[in-house]
Symmetry: C2
Subunit: 211 residues, 2 copies
């Protein structure tokens, strides 16, 4: 990388673009999507309010870059958690709930950005590429949980339910739990909740009782 030489001359950084994305994610975590502004990100990065516009055409482009990075990191975290969980399909899918929760506790409102924003067509591809990766990972883990004759719609439904309920748990519960638990306890409960749901789901598929 030539960032060390670039950082030498002038005031500017080696890689302001990456720095802006990183500070943007940090600002999202602290102030939420509502508190996000290009000016604040610029102050955080130690540059003028005009500097970001040399790297991003407008505010939406910076937000989209943050969302793409967040989504990619999240997909990595979920894949890693599933890998560490061992061979059992239910264990592997449930483990992603713990990783999602840890990620949400760190990035906070950043996760809302991933799901809530519909970006202008210009910047959509970059975000959706990573979003697609995340979906693919979840779909693969989910299909391993369900019987082989499960339809694609069944798999997609369960994957989305797993993702959305986990999202709710990870974003809503930490705000209300008093006194705040430790991160490990919150994440462990997320795994338990996911496993409980999968247990009940599979039991219902088998016809409520014995085979």
């Amino acid at each position: 990388m030539s960032s060390s030489t670039a950082a030498r001359r002038g005031y500017h950084h080696g890689d302001l673009r990456a720095r802006l994305v990183s500070e943007g994610i940090a600002l999202l975590a602290e102030a939420g999507v509502a508190g996000f502004s290009v000016a604040k990100v610029a102050v955080r990065a130690g540059v003028s309010s005009a500097a970001p516009y040399r790297h991003f055409p407008d505010r939406e482009a910076l937000l989209a870059a943050c969302a793409a990075t967040l989504t990619a990191d999240l997909a990595d975290a979920l894949a890693r958690a599933a890998e560490l969980a061992g061979p059992d399909p239910v264990d592997r899918l449930a483990a992603t709930a713990g990783a999602y929760t840890r990620y949400a506790l760190e990035r906070r409102a950043g996760l809302d950005l991933i799901h809530s924003r519909d970006f202008p067509a210009e910047h959509r591809p970059v975000v959706q590429e990573q979003s697609r990766r995340l979906t693919d990972i979840l779909m693969a883990l989910t299909s391993a949980v369900l019987p082989e004759d499960a339809s694609w719609a069944d798999i997609a439904d369960l994957a989305y339910v797993h993702l959305s309920t986990t999202h709710g748990y990870a974003t809503l519960l930490p705000r209300n739990s008093r006194p705040p638990r430790d991160i490990d306890g919150i994440a462990a409960l997320a795994v338990t909740v996911a496993r409980d749901h999968l247990t009940g789901h599979l039991q219902r598929l088998r016809g409520h009782g014995a085979p």
Copy 2:
């Protein structure tokens, strides 16, 4: 009420305060918390941008009033759904997930306001009074599901997990489901998901197998 006489003279309404809350909730549903402004609410209500400040000291007070109304309505909806669900405790608690989902589909970002905002101490009591009502309703329904020897912490945990996962399902999934299902289908799936989770939860409490 003297609202009819007050509506007679001048331009003003019979009950501008209530109208502002109602339009505020509608604006929250359409534009989200980020798009909320006192000025827009005033335009919607057909009054000047200064008029709201005769009824609310500042922006936060109007937001708090909207949040209190939203929470009270939600508590009513959950209690009503449980009542209609019949005698079985699991049915009753699971039914609240359907009502919550229907409510979320109508009010949208308004529900985020209930959970995400931490209001200044001045306006907190009004919101928390309704929030407490909602919590009490959920706790009562949850304690009926669990064994009699369940601790208060166990009950609170399950109630919060039920609420937060339902919130996630109700707010996240409708945005991603393509093509969008009908409201009845989304709400019915919410009940199924809640029941699956409760089934798995109770089964784990009984020791994974037969008694």
